[in-house]
Amino acid sequence: MYADGARFLAPRLRSKPPPVGTGRGVPEAPNEIDTPVMEAGHLTDAAPTAMRGRLEERLRQSPALAASLILIAIFIALVIGEGLHDVLQTTVNGLSLGAIYALGAVGLTLVYGILKLTNFAHGDFLTFGAYMAYLVNVTWGAPLVVAVFWAMAATALLGLLFERTLWGPMRRRRAGFLQLILMSIGLAFLLRAVIQWFWGTEIRSLDVDNTSSVEFLGLRVGETELIVIVVGIVVIAAVGLMLRYSLLGKRMRALSDDLDLAETSGIDTKRVILYTWIFSGALAGLAGVMAAATTNIRPELGFELLLPIFAAVILGGIGDAFGALAAGMVLGVMTEWSTLLIDARWKVAVGFVVLVVVLIIRPQGIFGKAKAI
């Protein structure tokens, strides 16, 4: 089964993505009776090694906890340096950006986890959602709510369409990862081309009120932005609950963990994969509409968001849906916090820098277990 040697063909065969934690910080069980577990010829010692004090040990075992502490530390430092008001203001901005990242990331990470597909076309799903919303909201004049649902449905269908016509057949042919990545890049071009054909390259906007704002606690938030934040957080919470407690959610997590085992266990993996694409597409569409509402609509919208979304995916541990949600929010907030320290025009670079740093220091992300990457 592991006959194929070429390293970059099917990473699933050579090195599985690391098993990801559930974010609950369960400490590793010390080995009682057994010899260390044999895994694919490598010995992994389940027992923790050094014990250098309770707190440090817990931090080691739960990188999520460590990350939260670091985040709180940064927050406090910023408040001391820049003042509570500015920090809170940027935090609020960060929440709307973070919601977009989170909803974009969760679909991307599941698709990667289950199908081992690094979907470079995912960004254009967001763009597609934005333009779909434009179609309904501006061209047809319907209320934004309708546009949102339409956008989510249309993007979900788009995801299904490509699964049926492209990804499914390629999987059956056992295509390697490079083939899939390049195909997704081609798909991204195609999507962009279609959008550009119908809507050109001019910048457009949704029919939303971008001027009026709300004041609370001395902070000023744009009305639209506030709605985006609320909707974002509600949807994220719903998605989280669904993944954690619903049967479909558990099955998605199971498939992301080990597709072959899921098939072996009797799960109808084909069906779950279809649902995953619906899920991924719908959330990407929503994220696109949110981005359109808070900024504007251009053909490059989604691709510009793609790399920070990748950053969130990797930061949260690739394949880990909860991680993606959390990391998306964190990344959004950190991006906005950065404007307190550096000129705003560098803001776009934050996502990329985080991505590069995470890949160098801890590629399995905050929530992943420390297995070889």
């Binding site: 098993p19 369960v26 577990v37 099955r251 199971a254 072996t264």
Partner: protein, 248 residues
């Protein structure tokens, strides 16, 4: 659909030929018969094709020639999840639990009908009390023996008639090996037919009704467990020129 095929076996393979790489056959023309209620063990040196045999029966490797028949129904080449629905479950040797899911979630994944899942899970905890104690623990943090139990528990969730086990004792400490084989007996006594691939030939054959010895992809020997144990030709296969296997 009769409950037994022509020769009365619950599960049988006829002329099974399979492999992974296009030109190379790992299994050649393997015939296997498992009667209801039996424990059948397949042993053989490394590379003999034991794992491939189990996987072909279960549809993880599509057979090139031959048939797999369960209760008179031809299952050859069906996808694994269909085979599970027809009453046969498989416990892989490695990667046999969902590491990021809890014990209870792992078991839930094996259930065919969500309505019955809770009852089935309770029944599994009765067989494996240890799993019940740790039912909210993430499977990835469990020891090897516990994972093996969980993997078996998951496979038992759909109430299979046949349980396929791929080297259940591999990588486990001696104390756990004994415990696992006892569980296998317990499960068998409860009415589940067992087909087992094992390196631990002596122990496995000792508890089996019948055994098969595979070498280089073909059946070499077949017979009641005890007889194979005492058969000098079998011993020679292991301890003679092709000795790649440790019988402990």
């Amino acid at each position: 659909m009769s409950s037994a095929s022509k020769n009365g076996a619950l599960l049988s393979t006829e002329g099974l030929t399979a492999g992974y790489v296009p030109e190379v056959d790992i299994l050649t023309d393997v015939d296997l018969r498992v009667n209801e209620g039996e424990i059948v063990t397949v042993i053989g040196p490394n590379g003999a094709g034991k794992s491939t045999l189990i996987k072909s029966i279960f549809g993880l490797v599509a057979p090139r020639e031959g048939r797999v028949v369960l209760r008179g129904e031809d299952l050859t080449g069906l996808p694994p999840h269909s085979i599970t629905r027809r009453g046969m479950s498989y416990v892989p040797q490695l990667d046999n639990v969902f590491q990021s899911l809890t014990v209870e979630e792992n078991l839930e994944m094996g259930a065919l009908e969500s309505g019955r899942a809770k009852d089935r899970i309770r029944a599994i905890y009765e067989i494996f009390p240890r799993l019940g104690e740790r039912h909210t623990q993430a499977a990835g943090t469990m020891s090897g023996g516990e994972r093996q139990m969980l993997a078996m528990g998951r496979a038992l969730m759909p109430e299979p008639s046949v349980l396929l086990l791929d080297e259940p004792s591999a990588g486990l400490a001696p104390a756990f090996v004994e415990a696992i084989f006892e569980k296998v007996n317990e499960i068998n006594n409860a009415g589940v037919t067992i087909v087992m691939v094992e390196q631990n030939a002596r122990r496995a054959l000792g508890m089996s009704d019948r055994g098969y010895v595979l070498d280089l992809g073909s059946n070499r020997f077949e017979g009641p467990g005890r007889e194979l144990l005492d058969d000098p030709k079998v011993a020679e296969l292991y301890l003679g020129g092709t000795a790649r296997l440790d019988i402990s």
